[in-house]
């Protein structure tokens, strides 16, 4: 297996560096890989050493020399300030090379960028709204990655009746973070579904929307969603039918992101730039760009 490595950037005091001081939002930092776990046949989880001050739902731009950039969402909890995790799926020339890196190699990245999941704060305390009204988290495939920090953050802080997770995957072999999912299942409501499943699969066989349809849902709940946009269309239809306010639904949009700082224009979506105004949007503010059919517009 070819080893690809990125060396440490030069010492910041080096007099030859003319402009690095001022390029704060385009600055690259390198982090060494501490461990690598294979999650599925094309997905790995890297743990990197270093402090990354990110909010759940934000993203970083990975730079892999000779190859290109990859947009990833840091997916570790917020308690360990000395390390963070990145989950990478091999689905292009750059990510194919990135998944081959090994502990000891460095990963260079810029960011974090964008708006993450809302903290749902109230004047009395950060979790009051969820304690009162409940939180539903819905993910499709890799969409669980930007939601994992929120789940790790909440698992010990929230009453079991107030948090539910609906995580859908295409195949049972694609299920990510199995140890976390099984642990969460003991703490709050967790529904895992795979469209096609190996025999003995511990989750449900089918679509996550089927579970959402039949599940009981508090209509005052907040909803965080991340996954393919097709999934949003079906899930939003169900959620609105169950009486959930469109101002309480937050989703993470995926677009082609390169610069991360609102310049290259690839991530434009209607009047928004996903890298700056998102990637997390409140549903009523992004409704038009998602082309959700008028038939489910309940004027909320």
């Amino acid at each position: 297996m070819r080893q690809i490595s990125l060396r440490q950037p030069a010492d910041r005091n080096d007099k030859e560096i003319m402009n690095l001081e001022s390029a704060k939002n385009f600055q690259t930092k390198s982090y060494p890989i501490v461990s690598k776990v294979t999650l599925t046949d094309d997905t790995v989880l890297f743990r990197l050493r270093g402090r990354l001050d990110f909010k759940p739902g934000q993203f970083v731009e990975i730079l892999l020399p000779h190859f290109g950039n990859v947009t990833l969402a840091p997916c570790s909890g917020l308690t360990n300030k000395k390390e963070f995790e990145l989950c990478v799926r091999a689905q292009g020339s750059t990510s194919d090379a990135l998944v081959q890196l090994l502990p000891g190699d460095n990963i260079a990245l810029r960011g974090p960028y964008g708006h993450g999941w809302p903290t749902l704060t109230m004047s009395r305390g950060p979790l009051d709204k969820i304690h009162r009204d409940g939180l539903i988290i819905i993910s499709g495939g890799m969409g669980i990655v930007p939601l994992r920090p929120t789940l790790l953050n909440l698992e010990n802080k929230i009453h079991s009746s107030k948090l539910s997770l609906f995580a859908g995957f295409r195949r049972s072999v694609d299920v990510l973070f199995e140890p976390d999912l099984k642990r969460w299942k003991r703490k709050f409501k967790v529904h895992v579904a795979a469209e096609s499943a190996e025999p003995g699969f511990w989750g449900n066989r089918g679509l996550i929307t089927e579970l959402l349809e039949t599940g009981s849902v508090n209509k005052n709940s907040y909803v965080l969603m991340c996954g393919p946009e097709k999934m949003y269309q079906y899930c939003i239809k169900i959620l609105l039918k169950k009486g959930i306010d469109s101002k309480r639904i937050f989703l993470s949009l995926e677009r082609r992101m390169e610069c991360g700082i609102g310049l290259c224009q690839h991530c434009s979506c209607g009047k928004h730039l996903v890298c700056q105004d998102g990637p997390v949007f409140r549903f009523d503010e992004i409704k038009k760009e998602l082309n959700i059919e008028n038939s489910i517009d309940t004027n909320k």
Binding site: A10, I17, G270
Partner: protein, 333 residues
């Protein structure tokens, strides 16, 4: 600070600018007008049509190296512990653009504003802008954006008989004029206004709204898209189209550096993510996005369109689309 000066005095001023700044001037080459490095003050045009190329090629060149990330990553020694060498930034620290027409000076001002939240470009204070009187062509429509004020340059020059009228519009411009032998000033001389017949101001607010309501004008956009080749020529020549890819440029010594290369929102992969899923699969989607960015999103967000009416897009379009008429058509829709 306005003055009438002769050719000798003008050359003295231009020579001073050439010594102090890395200078690019609008000049003739093979009977065409270009903005290129100025090596002789006599070559600068002082009453000209706009240049074929714009400042974009110089300020934000295709395949340009991103200065902040200039690192030579030496693949001969793959040891992660060794130091990377950093290339010294040799890009110019002070630039002068001479001979710009006013719409290009305005475009430069907007371009710098778009990048102002980063350090990827020089700041306006590091650039000297000298405008000259323009010769509009049939495709110009700068007056569609209201009265064109001359407030985007440091110095403005217009011909007057055998002499020149020079205007110091900023402190930097005034200082250069004063320090180069000009001591007689005349408040009475004025900059000549640009007059374009049949180009009245656009109702930008209405146009911005109507472009945003794409569903109300479906046939209109389809008709235009059918004619459009999707070649992206308009995005290449437009001084305010700056979409870019971030690439790694590899070289034969196994080193690489990061650069930005021009992209066009008409390109097939512009809105594609992994597995080629495309958010703008049709040419009509991409064409609408071009107008939407320039005349709707920018107007709503910044208060100005990403267009100064230079008309290069119209001149370069192989499908004979007239973008001025297309947006004006939305006022009446």
């Amino acid at each position: 600070m306005n003055a009438t000066i002769n050719k000798h005095q003008l050359n003295q001023i231009i020579s001073y600018i050439m010594r102090e700044y890395e200078s690019f001037g609008v000049q003739k080459k093979d009977n065409k007008t270009f903005l290129k490095p100025l090596d002789n003050p006599n070559k600068l045009l002082t009453w000209t049509e706009k240049s074929k190329n714009s400042f974009k090629e110089i300020l934000w060149p295709d395949q340009g190296v991103i200065p902040q990330l200039m690192r030579d990553i030496n693949k001969r020694n793959g040891d992660p512990g060794s130091q990377a060498t950093v290339r010294v930034d040799n890009s110019p620290k002070k630039l002068a653009f001479l001979g710009l027409v006013n719409c290009d000076a305005k475009a430069l001002d907007i371009f710098l504003k778009e990048f102002s939240h980063t350090d990827l470009l020089l700041k306006r204070s590091q650039i000297l802008v000298v405008t000259v009187e323009c010769k509009p062509d049939n495709n110009c429509f700068c007056t569609a954006f209201g009265d064109l004020k001359f407030k985007f340059s440091d110095i403005h020059i217009q011909e007057e008989g055998r002499n020149f009228e020079i205007f110091g519009l900023t402190r930097a411009g005034q200082k250069i004029i004063e320090e180069n032998g000009v001591d007689k000033f005349d408040k009475k001389i004025k900059i000549r206004e640009i007059v374009l017949e049949k180009v009245s101001p656009l109702d930008l607010k209405t146009i911005s709204q109507e472009i945003d309501r794409r569903e109300n004008h479906h046939e209109y956009w389809q008709k235009i898209a059918k004619q459009c080749f999707g070649c992206g020529a308009c995005t290449v020549v437009c001084p305010l189209c700056y979409c870019f890819n971030q690439d790694f440029k590899n070289d034969l010594e196994a080193d690489c550096h990061e650069c930005h290369s021009w992209d066009s929102c008409f390109s097939a992969s512009f809105s594609q993510i992994q597995k080629n899923y495309d958010f703008r699969p049709e040419n009509s989607d991409r064409l609408h996005n071009w107008y939407h960015h320039k005349f709707s999103r920018s107007v709503a967000k910044n208060g100005y369109p990403l267009c100064t009416g230079c008309g290069r897009c119209i001149s370069s379009c192989p499908a004979n689309l007239n973008h001025h008429n297309i947006i004006r058509g939305l006022e009446k829709q």
